[in-house]
Point group: C2
Chain length 300, copies 2
Amino acid sequence: MIDVALLGCGGSMPMVNRYLSSTLIQYNGRKCLIDCGEGTQVAMRHLGWGFKSIDLICLTHLHGDHIFGLPGLLSTIGNCGREDSLTMIGPTGLVSLFQDLKVLLPYLPYEIIYYEAPKIYEVNDMEIKTLPLHHSLPCLGYSFKIKRKPMFDTKKAESYLIPKKWWNELQKGKTITDNGTVYTPDMVLGKDRNGLKISIITDTRPIETIPPFIQNSDILICEGTYGDDADLEKAMKNKHMTFREAAQLAKVGEVAEMILTHFSPSLSEPDLYLKNALEEFSETIIGTDLMVKTMKFKKK
Amino acid sequence: MIDVALLGCGGSMPMVNRYLSSTLIQYNGRKCLIDCGEGTQVAMRHLGWGFKSIDLICLTHLHGDHIFGLPGLLSTIGNCGREDSLTMIGPTGLVSLFQDLKVLLPYLPYEIIYYEAPKIYEVNDMEIKTLPLHHSLPCLGYSFKIKRKPMFDTKKAESYLIPKKWWNELQKGKTITDNGTVYTPDMVLGKDRNGLKISIITDTRPIETIPPFIQNSDILICEGTYGDDADLEKAMKNKHMTFREAAQLAKVGEVAEMILTHFSPSLSEPDLYLKNALEEFSETIIGTDLMVKTMKFKKK
C-alpha cells in the first residue's frame, strides 16, 4: 500500500489557506518528499506522518517556492532524531546551492548525499526516473515506479527439487548454495506483476517528451498554474501550463488519473476552471491541501 | 497610534497552531518587523497589514527559528512592488550571512542596507536601541522608543513675535530665516512629552543589564521558553528563561505590562504556568498568535 499526500497546492507564495505545492509519498513506512517550499513542515505536521523516516527528498527545481522550506525541514528532521543519511536529488546547481546554504545548517546530525539530475535512481523497491522539463531554469519531472514482488510459485520450486528450508530466503531474493547446487530466486518466483507508477510534472511548459515519460501512470500530479484558457499567454511567458494543456498531456500519456496542483495565487477557486481540463481528459481532479490518495496494487 | 502585533509565539519549530515568535510594529503606516522564522509571511497574511511598507527588519539573532522565513518574506515584499531600500539590523554575522544567502535571492527589486549591532538607530520619530543578550550565539535585545512631538505653544510663538505665516513650518521642525531674523522650532514648541516604549527581549538568560534597558517600557515582549519552575535547569542549559525569571526582570525594570512569548514546542498550554509569572509581576499576560495591542500616547 502506498500513500500519496499533497501537502499543498499553491505556487509562488504560501497563502493563508493554501500551502506551497509539495508531495509526500509513503511506502513501507519510509517517506519520499518532492519539493519543499516555506511552510512544508507545517503542512507535514497537519498530516501527522512524522519527519524522521524521510529518506529521500527530490527537488524539481531551485525556485524559492519549491525550496525555501528546506532549512527548517532539515533542522526539524534532525530535531526528530534522525542520524541515518538522507538522499537529496535535484537539478544541476543542487550541490553548489547547498554549499552556500551550509551556513544556515551548521549542526545537522545526519549526512545528506546529493545526486544532481540522475536519469535513474533506485532505492528499495522504487525506481525513480527524471525528465528535463522546460521552465525558466533547470527543472526535473519525476516518475516513481513502485515494483511489486512476484508471487511464490510452489510448483516451480518443487519442479527444481529445492529443499523447503531455502524457500523463504529464495523468496526474499537471496541466492543459496547447498552442497554445490546453486538455487536462485527466479526458481521459486512467478511472473512479474504490475507495480504502481506516480508521476510529478512541475514547473514546465508542455513538451513532447512528457507524454512518453508519464505513460500509464496510475497517478499524475501535474502543475496547472492557470485555470482560464485566456491565461495561455501568461502561462507561456512564465513557463507554466493552463489546466487544458496539462490535461492534453495526461490524455496523450494515457495516465489513469491526473491531479492538478501549483495554482497561481491569483487563482482563488480552481474548481471554476476544472471543466477546461475535463474537456480534454475526463479523469482530472483538482488537488487540495492535505489530499491523500491510498494506492493499492492491482489484483493481477 | 501604534499597533503592535505578535505574529507568532513559538520557539524552535513552527507548529500547526503556533507560528514562530515574531513581532510587527506599525506606526504612521510604516512597519518594522522583529525576527522572521519560517511561516512569518503566512502569519502576516492572516494579519492583513500588507508587506510593501516594511521599512525595517530587526533580527535578534541568527538561529533558524528567527530567520528561516526571510528568503520567502523578502521575495514576497519584492513581489508586492517594493522598490525603496529596506534596512536590516542584526547581530554580528548578519552581513556575512546575507552574502551567503544571496544565491537564494538573485532578483530582489530593492536594496537592503545592513547594520550590524548598532547601539542606536534612529528613523523618523523612532529611536531604536540594542542590548547584547546572553544566548548561545550573539543576540540582541531591542527597545523602540516612539517620540511624541511637543504641542504648539501659541503664547511662546507670540512672545517671540513670529509672523503667523511661519508657524506651521516651524511646528513641523523647519528653521526659518525671514529678513535676517532666524526662527527655530523650539520658539513655537512646548515641553517634551512622553513617548511610548516597546522592548523585545529574546532569546536570553536573565542578565543584570536587561532591567535598565527595558526600564519603564509600556510593553515588554519577553521570551518565556519554559513555564514550569522545574524546567529551570533546562532553561539554563539552553540559554532561555522560565516565566518566573522573565517576570522578575519585568518587575525590576518597572515596565507597565509584559507579554510572554517564544514558548517551547513542549509547552502546549502556557496558561497553566501564568501564575508563576504573576507571583513576581502582576501585569503579565500570555502572548497568543496574532494578538494586537494598540498603544496610545498618554494625555500628558
